[in-house]
């Protein structure tokens, strides 16, 4: 009998080559696998790039003035919530699109506080980051959850908007805010319960100017 080991070797080699070319299984991290299935189809950064320039910045014209909103929230909160608030689904918290101009009262590592009238109390606080949550996405009133088949895409928009605020808006404020200086802002604010936490209004800005 002649040895047939070479036939076995050839067979195993052929099978090995086939599996190398067409692997029967791929092992990938959970998150990577998930992203391949769903997340990668939607480019949140590209979406926000266009949304920011074409829809969000022009929306400043529709924003309610911060002093008007705060006044109405104190006197007729239900009307303020109804007329100017935006709620996502069945939620207790309400978001607002606001703009205004104030004088810098304090500046520290975490935030800049503003008075809306000369010598007045601190009425608005703008955090200097990091920015979390959906305040800007939901407060703008420009995006509808029903237009997004996968809620992960809708949430990715929030993350991209927040990053953009941190990278492009807050550095302007950090660089220019000094006590006594006038700042104009446009952004969104979220209020969970106007009876408990009205002052100061915490604004996530998408526009900062020093007039």
């Amino acid at each position: 009998m002649r040895p047939r080991w070479w036939k076995w070797a050839l067979g195993i080699g052929a099978v090995g080559l086939f599996w190398w070319v067409c692997p029967p299984v791929h092992v990938v991290p959970l998150e990577t696998g998930r992203q391949r299935r769903a997340g990668d189809r939607f480019d949140a950064e590209a979406f926000v790039e266009e949304f920011w320039e074409r829809r969000l910045l022009p929306a400043e014209a529709q924003a309610i003035r911060a002093e008007v909103l705060l006044g109405l929230l104190q006197t007729r909160p239900e009307e303020a919530l109804e007329r100017y608030g935006r709620r996502l689904g069945l939620s207790r918290s309400t978001c607002f699109l606001v703009s205004g101009q104030g004088t810098v009262v304090t500046v520290d590592e975490a935030a800049v506080s503003l008075a809306l009238e000369p010598g007045g109390p601190v009425a608005v606080v703008i955090g200097l980051g990091p920015v979390f949550g959906n305040t800007l996405r939901d407060g703008s009133g420009l995006l509808d959850v029903n237009e997004f088949p996968n809620s992960q895409d809708f949430n990715a928009i929030s993350a991209a908007l927040n990053r953009r605020v941190e990278e492009r808006v807050l550095p302007l404020l950090k660089a220019g805010a000094v006590p006594g200086r006038t700042v104009a802002f446009a952004g969104c604010a979220e209020i969970h319960d106007p009876r408990r936490e009205l002052f100061p209004l915490r604004v996530v800005p998408f526009q900062i100017r020093f007039p």
């Binding site: 769903a38 069945l90 979390f132 959906n134 809620s151 949430n155």
Partner: protein
């Protein structure tokens, strides 16, 4: 014997004929059934092995009964094949509507489409399907926002440095990733917080206990655990108690389950995100009722807010919701 056999054949032929006549009768499809005396509504739940989903199922069933429907609960046991079999049964039995808690955001779409094609409206509860043209409406927890709130509290309690573990839910479910991504959108901003393990425990308490025991072998010095639901938080807590580390390691859950709310009050679990299964189930049942009475303009998605529960505000809450 021969006449007996002959009569049997005649009887069989008549039965088949009757069956065919009944099945082919014009207007006997599900849509007409909905308008008639048939008031059977199916409640299909991903698993009844978790008290949170039992509350979801029982609330939906009770609300449907209060509205005058005959409600049947189906348990998919987290198995897409069982879920598909339930839909076969539901379609064949001509239920008039389905309140649905899916097992898989992508895999469950086909079941909803089959029901829709058969004229049976489907209302998703708590878990999403990745399609906006299949279900009539999807009533969903705002998991991402809830997880952002947990993440912020996590940093406040644990600090900006430390080691932690994340237990994920079912990897095919969007809730798993919305919670994970919401949490990481905050925690990843602090480079000193290091995730030493991230493993799936399938939203299951027993599985979480096993996974946590294994993780603790390799990482005995962790500071915190973030769990994608409260069943896993209970499993992780149990493993920490067994290892004598429950005092030191902080546990964070998600759901608002009764036992976790109690343990937050006792200072043994740090926090959870309260979902509102009763609100979602009641809303789904009422939407189904409105649909069957002719209403058609439903929003495709109705997010339901999720609220952070900590030791500071736990007195305002009970299991699965706010104190009434």
């Amino acid at each position: 014997m021969k006449p007996t056999i002959r009569w049997s054949w005649v009887g069989l032929a008549v039965s088949v004929g009757m069956l065919g006549w009944t099945g082919c009768k014009p207007g006997s499809g599900p849509t007409e059934s909905a308008a008639g005396d048939n008031r059977r509504v199916a409640v299909v739940i991903s698993t009844l092995n978790n008290p949170w989903f039992v509350v979801l199922a029982e609330t939906a069933r009770d609300r449907l009964r209060a509205l005058g429907y005959e409600a049947t609960v189906f348990d998919s046991q987290n198995d897409p094949a069982k879920e598909a079999a339930h839909f076969d049964n539901i379609i064949a039995s001509r239920y008039v509507a389905v309140l649905f808690n899916p097992t898989d955001a992508d895999g469950s779409i086909a079941n909803v489409r089959r029901a829709k094609a058969a004229g049976i409206p489907v209302f998703c509860m708590d878990r999403e399907i990745n399609a906006t043209d299949a279900a009539v409406c999807q009533i969903l927890s705002d998991n991402y926002s809830g997880a952002v709130a947990v993440g912020r509290y996590f940093v406040q309690v644990v600090g900006s440095t430390g080691k932690y573990v994340e237990l994920l839910g079912l990897v095919g479910d969007n809730n798993t990733w919305n919670r994970s991504k919401g949490f990481h959108s905050v925690v990843d901003r602090y480079p000193g917080l290091r995730m030493v393990a991230q493993q799936s425990a399938d939203f299951d308490r027993a599985r979480a206990l096993e996974v946590m025991e294994a993780v603790l072998q390799a990482n005995p010095d962790i500071d915190a655990v973030f769990c994608g639901n409260d069943a896993m938080a209970m499993g992780a807590y149990q493993a920490l108690v067994a290892a004598g580390k429950a005092e030191r390691v902080k546990v964070f859950g998600f759901d608002g389950a009764e036992d976790v709310v109690r343990l937050i009050g006792e200072g043994k679990i740090a926090a959870t995100a309260m979902q509102f299964p009763k609100v979602m189930a009641r809303t789904a049942a009422e939407f189904a009722d409105a649909y069957l009475k002719g209403k058609r303009d439903f929003p495709q998605k109705v997010p339901v807010a999720v609220e952070l529960v900590t030791r500071d505000n736990v007195h305002e809450y009970q299991g699965y919701g706010r104190k009434e």
